[in-house]
């Protein structure tokens, strides 16, 4: 396809280019700011709803057995004052990470799988301590 240019190319006013460029770049990027803010709030709203529903489902399905499982855990790990301390420390760290004005709620804490065995960790710790002169 051939497009014929009928009008002769007129020189552009440089100032007009400055103003046009400035305005269009700002308008497009300001629009993007607006849209990102909008969809971020929508996404976070949707995610919160989904999590709420999940939490409700979990609590509804596990309600009758919750006490039993709690008891069994206590049986396995009788000293849970340490656990509570750990929960408090982790929660404080998370809260500090997100800043003071954020509203953080810790739902669950899971131990991540250690990258090496307990024995290997103990060995490494012992090695480090011995080098430090302890």
């Amino acid at each position: 396809m051939i497009n014929f240019i009928t009008a002769s190319a007129e020189p552009v006013n440089p100032l007009a280019v400055l103003v046009t460029g400035f305005v269009i770049v700002f308008v497009v990027l300001l629009l993007l700011i607006g849209i990102i803010k909008l969809y971020s709030s929508i996404v976070s709203g949707v995610m919160a709803n989904i999590e709420k529903k999940k939490a409700l489902k979990v609590s509804a399905s596990q309600a009758p057995t919750a006490e039993v499982s709690l008891e069994s855990e206590i049986a396995v790990q009788p000293d849970n004052t340490d656990d509570m301390q750990i929960v408090a420390v982790i929660s404080a760290a998370v809260a500090a990470y997100y800043g003071s004005d954020s509203n953080v709620r810790v739902h669950s804490i899971r131990r991540s799988k250690p990258s090496r065995s307990e024995w290997a960790t103990a060995g490494i710790n012992e090695n480090i301590m011995s080098r430090r002169g302890f």
């Binding site: 552009v12 280019v17 046009t20 460029g21 770049v25 990027l29 993007l32 700011i33 971020s40 996404v43």
Partner: protein, 416 residues
Amino acid sequence: MEILNGFLDSVVGLYYDSGLVNLTWHNYVMVAISCVLMYLAIKKQYEPLLLLPIAFGMLLVNIYPDIMAAPSTQLVPLETYLQNHDSVNYPITEMLNEAGDSVIKYVNVPTNGGLLYYLYQGVKLGIYPPLIFLGIGCMTDFGPLIANPKSFILGAAAQIGIFITFIGASLMGFTDTQAGSIGIIGGADGPTAIYVTTKLAPELLGPIAVAAYSYMALVPIIQPPIMKALTTKKERSVVMQQLRPVTKLEKILFPIIVTILCSLLLPSAAPLVGMLMLGNLFKESGVVDRIFKTAQNELMNIITIFLGVTVGATASGEVFLTWKTIGIIALGLAAFCLGTSCGVLFGKLMYIFTKGKVNPLIGSAGVSAVPMAARVANKVGQQENSSNFLLMHAMGPNVAGVIGSAVAAGVLLSIL
């Protein structure tokens, strides 16, 4: 004796074919310049991934100009042609001899172009820069920008340098399209500069590409004095609040939304923004691992080689060693400095409006040059307060700058 004569004739013929006879002083100066650039790339490691192929392309084209020669047709007299060949497979042109009394037949023998001429088509047709953007998209994390969308303001502010330089270049006598191509150096984005220049002023591609990549390599030297001159010690020491975490869904939606919006409003920015966002969608979607890896590694590396060598090969002595080139390099520096200044000044405005929550230094990262400009902002911030980490905050304006310069390129392509 005949053998000796034949040998001497051949040697003389080779000598006349060699660069020793055909090259001008321009070419030798360019060879020297390319050696300096290679030194900077290898020893000083200034953007070596691009500077090295560019410098080598420059070297090649100035020693053997035909490597960039376009395919052409030679007119060989039919009789001469038939002495070496059995039949004629090419069209024949008939022309009158000088006296005008007889017709001489010529065979139109096509000659292939040089190696780099063919590789250069990817630059000329605007194919390589968007493909480089695809790779950049794969490597870019827009998280800091989504977490703090206000960074877009800084990314936009740093583009003002492009348009101010446009005025300067127009006043210096460059044509509108040339001025637009020179201004885009201020976007500090190599592929964008090359893309715009091939569309608007292909004759200036060599100097503009060299200027753009040189300034990007010199970001750590050019920016800090401007940043320090425009900010106070108190402003530079501002510690910014931790960015919020961004969900995966937001990261996936971002490239789609940006593509739709930018391409709708500025269709001429679509090839650059579209490919950038496609690369990012590859990364964030997490379902096309193979394509994602290829786009950011093999494809990007191949294109970088082709782009670098052929862009370097546009800098032949006759084209490069002119007063225009000096003007372009000076204007490019001005564009770059103005972009940095506008970014920092808008950073200062944000500092005032947010009552001291934004460190104005991050504004300087709005000039793209990812991630060097963000690293420089971080480094200058740490000179005031060694425990201040501005890197992630500066990455927001930095990646916004990439989108901003692509939008600015779209504006220039539309109105010029």
